[in-house]
Amino acid sequence: MRSILHVATHVFRDSVRDKVLYSIVAFAVILMVSSFLIGQLTAGQDVKIIKDLGLAAMSLFGLFIAIFIGVGLVSREIERRSIYAVLAKPVRRHEFVIGKYLGLVGTLLANLAVMAVAYYGVLEYMRFVMPPGQFKVTSPVVDPKLLIGIGMIAAELALVTAVALFWSTFSSSAMLSAALTAAMWVAGQFGTDLRNFDQVVKSPVAAGIGRALYYLLPNFAAFDVKSQVVHGVPVAGGYIAVTLLYGAAYAAMLLTASVFIFSRRDFK
């Protein structure tokens, strides 16, 4: 357990030095600047648009970090040959993989936390400058329910990290791993289409493959509750719990596979 924590801490420190913080600052600045510009363009929908833009930016920035740092977690160590030094220490291979995963998830969570503070700061500012009675909305400007959306983004990113790490354990090309992770994320957005594939194809075999892919591929679309939280529509607690459980189970399965593959790799 201590070894896992050591590896995780090392990844966290390394990632923070790895320009991740720059993206956070860039995000915060873009969000704040856009809040002033967008207010001029959107005919009273500035708060909705800032909420949408903020959540989308958290998701997109997080996705980039999860994919591009995630795919290099293991392959970079192999490429740099620093893996020999690591494995020479009393760190078992499964501890190394799990530590790497937890380190990046920790980085992503810290990243999201800073972005969330900037996000709420901008919304608080919008509430402050809004003339009283000038704006009526279906949900409050500074709405704690937005945290549900941010939490679901975090869960989605944790799953994306597991996918990236999985590809990283047996592919020596970081670009290929990134492409495969991105492709899986995109495919995971089409869950409904895959499930209802029988409505667009006549072949029962093709429909069956579509349905099988729906169950086998990670359903990233299920984590997307951004629209609901922005509009103040309640998201059922049961739905959140089942989706989080699904994400945890899928990530655990991928980590197990990653550990299995990594344990059998020969680095000679």
């Binding site: 363009l41 997109l60 009526k136 997307d224 951004k226």
Partner: protein
């Protein structure tokens, strides 16, 4: 950096670029856009909404006599498909798609289609059937308007004033007071844009009422002197007016030479006045 700025400025001054006036919408099918947007549908909905406003504003303010709002419906359709709870986009559509030319697209059919889509996605909202009734009212189809006001009244949580509105629409459709009542209800809308549009329309209705009163006074002048008033000064000298008559924005009304008809000045921000509710 200074060099780059300088070069940009030099190019601006010496090589004028040809601006393409044509507005293009590359993806029109909402089903395609919904897939292309992946998990960023709301942001794309916002972008299409901003484009819809830009399109409407640019077309409305253009100097062209022949204004076309062809992209308004496709843009609103895309925005509301990507975000089916985008209330302002539906209600904006209702107001400006149904508005007569040149201030709007003069397409009440598209306004109704957009609002029916809103109803299908948000059956708990009474505002959308109300807005459909409003579109029919503006189109002078009073029995259809009353039918939709009834549907709005049947939505749980609908306001109590909807029931008397049904009877008023059936009996006094086209009446200026009914029109004012309908617009006043929009002043309590959630959407600032709808409220702003309602405020403007209520000011226009004030102007219509003032024109009716002025028209009555010019007819009195004609009865007294046998010919229509040549100028407002003549009306003042005759004791029918105290001052030069101005619309609510402070622009003087126009008196038709030889006819005595009173109209709003084309330079007024209230022009052109709507025809709804006018006798």
């Amino acid at each position: 950096m200074a060099g780059v700025v300088g070069l940009q400025g030099y190019r601006e001054r010496h090589f004028r670029t040809v601006e393409v006036d044509e507005q293009i919408l590359y993806v029109r099918a909402p089903s395609v856009m919904m897939r292309l947007a992946l998990s960023f549908k709301d942001v794309f909905a916002d972008l299409y909404w901003i484009r819809a406003i830009q399109h409407y504003g640019t077309t409305r303010l253009s100097s062209s006599q022949d204004k076309h709002y062809e992209l308004l419906y496709p843009l609103l359709d895309l925005a509301t498909s990507l975000d089916p709870r985008f209330s302002i986009a539906y209600r904006f559509g209702a107001l400006f798609l149904s508005e007569g030319a040149p201030g709007g697209a003069n397409r009440p059919d598209q306004a109704v289609a957009l609002l029916q889509k809103a109803m299908a996605a948000n059956p708990e909202r009474w505002e959308y059937p109300y807005d459909i009734g409003f579109v029919y009212y503006r189109n002078r189809e009073y029995s259809k308007a009353a039918e939709w006001f009834r549907k709005a009244a049947n939505v749980p949580g609908g306001p109590s004033w909807l029931s008397p509105l049904i009877a008023v629409t059936m009996t006094q459709g086209g009446d200026l007071r009914t029109s004012r009542f309908l617009w006043q209800n929009l002043l309590s809308s959630e959407e600032r844009w709808v409220r702003t549009a309602a405020e403007r329309r209520l000011t226009q209705l004030d102007a219509i009422e003032q024109i009716q009163q002025l028209q009555f006074l010019t007819s009195q002048y004609q009865r007294r002197y046998g010919n229509p008033p040549p100028t407002w000064d003549a009306m003042i000298k005759a004791g029918l007016l105290r001052d030069l008559p101005k619309d609510p924005t402070g622009v003087e009304y126009v008196l038709g030479q030889g006819s005595g008809t009173v109209t709003i000045d084309g330079a007024s921000s209230l022009a052109p006045l709507p025809t709804e509710g006018a006798p």
